[in-house]
């Protein structure tokens, strides 16, 4: 009995491994689109949390990618050959461990030409070395931590970095004439900590009080906000995650903080304003793009998005995923190659690509995009309004 059990187990293990293994496709070949019988499918991998507390971000992200897929009509033309394109969405549950698994799967098994995502810096930091070692270009969407692209020359990002965003927020506050600020941040979250540090470093005024909370599990911020209200600051910075912001804005108003509120780019999610309700009136945030923008690329994106998903408006996740994917597709088209290295070089060479957020140029040394930020503001109905553009 025990022997049988042990044997069966061994068998199951080895078979399951071998079975899955044998189905592995060869890595992206370097054929340059010679007139073969059937054109090779171009696979692009996407890594997002589709379950777990970050699942909302993943949902917007996949929707953003879907817009580009529609736009491409399912094909990318390389050297005059129409290659079918396949987007492979992989769930990383917002965990670093799963992200590394998913990267390996996409690179080794699916043979993707490039990976778009993930949205969290921690996941990008954990899995970045895998893409780097495999020589697979990787464009992170929302990973704003400076260290993400320092992993190596295959790692790019579509968003701006924490120090820039913090500086933008600080500059905006100074411009508005705010002399004193208070901050409440999530000490369990790297994004929040990074943004807070960057803001403090560039803000010329005085930071009157800093309060912390740990994690987004229990959404009671009353004490921290009451303490900050006692400081009577001219502005409140909430550099926090979108699942927390709605309630924070609401509770800040209830706690008697009447000053203007400034948030990071994660506030660019319609759900924040929906949850905050009327309290969202006047909340300003740093954003990569403005849905109001009259630029054709922006308008086209928003229209295409709404056409595909009539119930919602795009948020930053959707938009950045769209841009990151666009960068990859542009690189494939312009490098006219299905070779990962060629794609990497092409991404690095992006100069003046028209994206919804404006014209984007890749800084080759840091592999961060050089792009401006806009300051947006919610009104009482939760509609966003353009306030200002800040360029690096």
């Amino acid at each position: 009995m025990k022997k049988a059990l042990a044997l069966i187990l061994m068998l199951v293990m080895v078979l399951s491994l071998a079975a899955c293994g044998s189905s592995a496709a060869p890595a992206a070949s370097s054929s340059s689109g010679t007139a073969a019988a059937a054109p090779e499918t171009i696979k692009i991998g996407f890594v997002f949390p589709m379950s777990g507390t970050g699942a909302m971000a993943g949902r917007y992200s996949t929707h953003g990618a879907d817009v580009l897929k529609e736009e491409l009509g399912g094909v990318i033309t390389v050297n005059g050959v129409d290659h079918p394109v396949e987007f492979i969405y992989a769930d990383n549950e917002g965990s670093e461990e799963k992200t590394t698994n998913v990267y390996q799967k996409l690179i080794e098994e699916e043979g993707v030409i490039a990976i778009v995502g993930p949205d969290a810096s921690k996941c990008a930091l954990a899995a970045g070395p895998i893409a780097q070692n495999a020589g697979c270009p990787n464009v992170a969407t929302f990973a704003t931590n400076t260290a993400v692209t320092e992993v190596g020359n295959y790692i790019f990002r579509a968003c701006f970095i924490d120090p820039f965003q913090g500086a933008v927020a600080a500059a905006y506050c100074e411009e508005q004439g705010y002399k004193t600020a208070c901050i409440m941040f999530n000490n369990a979250d790297a994004y929040s900590v990074g943004l807070k540090d960057a803001f403090i470093e560039s803000f010329d005024g005085e930071v009157l009080g800093i309060e912390e909370y740990s994690g987004s599990d229990v959404k009671d911020y009353n004490v921290q906000l009451t303490k900050l209200a006692a400081q009577n600051p001219e502005v409140l910075l909430l550099p926090n995650l979108n699942v927390e912001l709605g309630l924070q804005i609401q509770q800040a108003r209830t706690a008697g903080l009447t000053c203007p509120i400034v948030c990071g780019d994660s506030a660019d999610t319609p759900d924040v304003a929906k949850v905050a309700g009327a309290a969202s009136d006047g909340v300003a945030y740093v954003s990569a793009f403005s849905a109001e923008s009259t630029a054709p690329a922006a308008k086209a994106f928003v229209d295409a998005y709404v056409a595909l998903y009539p119930d919602e408006l795009p948020n930053s996740n959707a938009e950045l995923t769209y841009e990151a994917t666009k960068m990859v597709v542009w690189a494939i088209q312009n490098a006219a190659t299905l070779d990962r290295d060629g794609v990497r070089d092409a991404i690095e060479s992006i100069d003046g690509l028209e994206l919804p957020s404006g014209s984007m140029t890749m800084v080759a040394e840091t592999r961060n995009p050089s792009k401006g930020a806009v300051i947006m503001q919610y009104d009482a109905e939760g509609v966003t309004h353009y306030v200002a553009t800040v360029n690096p």
Binding site: Y213, V218, Q224, T226
Partner: protein, 303 residues
């Protein structure tokens, strides 16, 4: 002074959520002896359910809220649905394991919890996005001794206290309450005495689920955002509260919930950097002083 009172109100607000949830936790534990880690997800179902039920009643929507009667109806429907789901979960997943080691039921509950969270998430019309919770209770702010208290907070705290008293009386005085006590002491003996143990346990789960729905509605009224993962950590905290008060004891659960809420708020108030850790340190200290929780009696095994 006013600040301390204000913090106390916040503590009671958070504590009442823990307490309401812990009541269901502790009842189930007291009667079946299992740790139902999916209990927090019943809270989510209650809150999310209320969101959708309220949508159905949109025609009655006036001045940003609903008439009292409709609110009562919405809450009742949510309680019945959540209680029903709790009963269903018990019948399908827990009943077959009743005589198995309790860890087995615990792991099953982890699986159930995972299912209850991920199933609605995977449904396209629910999904993972947080939603604003409709205003069910009229929100007015009172000023008492310099502290501002909202009507929602008052409703939550009073509701929690009333529920505790009602539950306590229910278990102590009614026939079914007596049967519950009998089942909690000895299932087999209760069975021999002609008590329908399955029925009693089903009723317990129904009450637990309904209470979770109420706490979900309270939580979502105070922190008006609903999403599918909202219950998991709250469930853990209410388990902590129930154990702190002495698991299996209804008054203990209540006390544990309020103590936990107040401890967390005051720890945060003193230093928000360490607040989170300090809350747990207080917990450990209390347990070291009272090894069977605050209201729990240390059962000395007779040799």
């Amino acid at each position: 002074m006013a600040t301390i009172l204000q913090y106390l109100v916040y503590g009671l607000q958070l504590g009442s959520v823990y307490a309401l949830l812990a009541l269901g936790y502790t009842m189930v534990y007291g009667i079946v002896g299992m740790i139902n880690t999916a209990h927090g997800d019943f809270l989510m179902i209650g809150a999310l359910g209320t969101f959708f039920i309220a949508k159905l009643f949109e025609n009655f929507h006036v001045d940003g809220t609903y008439p009292m009667l409709i609110v009562g109806l919405i809450i009742l429907i949510a309680m019945v649905i959540t209680g029903g789901i709790a009963v269903g979960v018990e019948a399908i997943a827990y009943r077959p394991l009743r005589n198995k080691p309790r860890m087995i039921a615990l792991i099953t509950a982890v699986g159930v919890s995972m299912f209850l969270e991920n199933f609605p998430r995977a449904l396209p019309f629910i999904g993972p996005n947080p939603r604003p919770f409709p205003t069910l209770f009229i929100n007015r702010t009172f000023r008492v001794l310099g502290a501002s208290i909202t009507s929602t907070q008052v409703i939550m705290i009073v509701l929690a206290a009333l529920t505790m008293v009602a539950l306590d009386r229910f278990v102590a005085k009614t026939k079914i309450g007596g049967q519950m006590r009998a089942v909690s002491m000895d299932k087999d003996a209760a069975n021999l005495m002609g008590i329908n143990v399955n029925k009693v346990i089903s009723i317990t789960f129904f009450i637990g689920g309904a209470l979770a729905a109420v706490s979900g509605i309270c939580y979502a009224s105070a922190y008006p955002q609903v999403e599918v993962y909202m219950g998991s950590w709250l469930g853990n905290m209410s388990f902590v509260a129930a154990v702190l008060g002495g698991i299996g004891d209804i008054r203990g659960a209540m006390l544990g919930g309020f103590i936990l809420g107040i401890a967390q708020i005051f720890a945060t108030a003193i230093n928000s950097t360490f607040g989170y850790a300090v809350g747990f340190i207080i917990l450990i200290i209390i347990l070291l002083v009272k090894p069977a929780g605050i209201m729990g009696k240390l059962t000395i095994e007779k040799v």
